[in-house]
């Protein structure tokens, strides 16, 4: 029967010049076997390049209502699994994901579009006459896929939002217009920085928000769904 003394690992340890590198490598591998059960990712941190833009449309009042979480598996953003079988689940810091995404969209519209946008969780302090446009919607998909490549993780994020646009001037006359927004992002990480996994999903969401300006047009104080170009 083979014992530890017969194994090549033991002969490596006996060799003094190999002892330190082998022990270091073993330490790294053992540390890699430890997984935190749940990590809350910070999604609301926008890239630093994002700056205040002054727009001619800064009079537009837009209220963004909390999004409904319509994901099939709605508790977590994703999960990673180590080769030892240990799993880490990723959630969203800052509370309910529907609130977090609506807050992000309001901040995006405020900063990037220059609109007077706000997160309408409470009705306090709303301007007289209310908002020109109310955005509401649901989260169809907001997911993080983690592929384990040894010490490196390849991470891909997907976000799909269904946004209902309710214009004050046409409410009652028309149904709210609906646009579907998609965003994807990919990145790789050294596995010891899992808290940075919020980056790809934030970028996927920002890409989805950017689609809102591509798929809609602004007419006076209304946001209308843009008609697809006819070829």
């Amino acid at each position: 029967m083979r014992t530890f003394q017969d194994s090549p690992f033991h002969s490596l340890l006996k060799n003094r010049s190999f002892r330190l590198p082998v022990l270091c490598l073993t330490g790294i591998l053992l540390t890699a076997c430890v997984a935190e059960p749940l990590i809350q990712l910070e999604l609301r941190r926008f890239p630093p390049s994002m700056g205040m833009k002054h727009s001619k449309t800064d009079h537009l009042l837009v209220a963004v209502e909390p999004f409904v979480d319509a994901r099939l598996q709605s508790r977590f953003l994703g999960q990673s699994r180590l080769w030892t079988g240990q799993e880490t689940l990723y959630g969203s810091a800052g509370g309910d994901l529907g609130d977090v995404i609506a807050q992000m969209l309001a901040t995006y519209l405020l900063q990037e579009q220059g609109w007077q946008a706000w997160f309408a969780k409470a009705r306090v302090g709303q301007p007289e006459g209310g908002p020109d446009v109310t955005l509401s919607g649901k989260i169809v998909e907001c997911q993080l896929d983690v592929r384990d490549w040894g010490l490196v993780w390849l991470v891909s994020a997907h976000a799909t939002l269904s946004v209902d646009i309710n214009n004050k001037s046409t409410s009652g006359l028309h149904q709210p217009e609906q646009v579907i927004l998609h965003g994807t992002a990919e990145d790789w990480f050294f596995r010891y920085g899992p808290s940075r996994l919020g980056g790809p999903i934030t970028r996927a969401l920002l890409q989805a928000f950017h689609e809102l300006s591509e798929k809609t047009i602004l007419i006076d104080t209304t946001i209308r769904k843009a008609q697809p170009a006819m070829n």
Binding site: E42, R45, G95, Q111, W118, F119, K121, A122, V124
Partner: protein, 182 residues
């Protein structure tokens, strides 16, 4: 002897003492830098009352509150003195708010002789004296009437540094990202 005298010191600022003009300047600019990209998605003209909490002395906390009040006022919020006339409570929570300084010296520090009434000057092959101001703040917003938590922002950060170097005893220069008068 020179290598034995190498020191690596890190000295926290003494809260009880008055800050130097340079520390005050770095701190103020770091605070303004943190507030520069502030965006709070609340209705325009919303009446708010501002609170600030930080593990720092009251003067710095007051300065934090005033800087962010100014910025939120510029964004269109109406700042109220008491909660009776406000719709939202905006609580500024600072993770860090202050300055720190340190010294790296490769050489011989100045020494006082025990026998003779003379002091030897510092002989610095490399000397780096640094001051760094750091601000990290997030905002939590509550509905005053119901106490409901409405939103929390990510951290807004600002840093400013001032490094003063001496190389080969005489060659001195400084590096900074702060706007220093004079």
């Amino acid at each position: 002897m020179l290598l034995n005298a190498c020191t690596l010191a890190r000295e926290p600022s003494n809260w009880m003492e008055q800050r130097t003009a340079l520390e005050q300047l770095l701190f103020s600019q770091a605070l303004n830098q943190s507030a520069k990209h502030l965006a709070l998605p609340l209705p325009p003209g919303a009446p708010i009352v501002i609170e600030a909490v930080a593990p720092s002395p009251p003067t710095l906390v007051n300065m934090l509150r005033e800087t962010y009040s100014n910025r939120l006022g510029a964004l269109g919020m109406r700042i109220r003195k008491d909660e009776k006339h406000a719709g939202y409570l905006v609580r500024l929570v600072a993770e860090t708010l202050g300055t720190e300084q340190g010294l790296n010296l490769l050489g011989l520090p100045s020494m006082q002789s025990a026998l003779l009434p003379i002091a030897s000057p510092e002989i610095a092959l490399y000397r780096n004296e640094y001051i760094k101001a750091m601000v990290r703040v997030s905002l939590d917003v509550y509905d005053i009437q119901t106490g409901q938590h409405i939103l929390s922002t990510p951290f807004y950060e600002g840093t400013k540094y001032f490094n003063q170097y001496i190389i080969a005893i005489f060659l001195g220069f400084r590096l900074t990202d702060a706007d220093i008068p004079g």
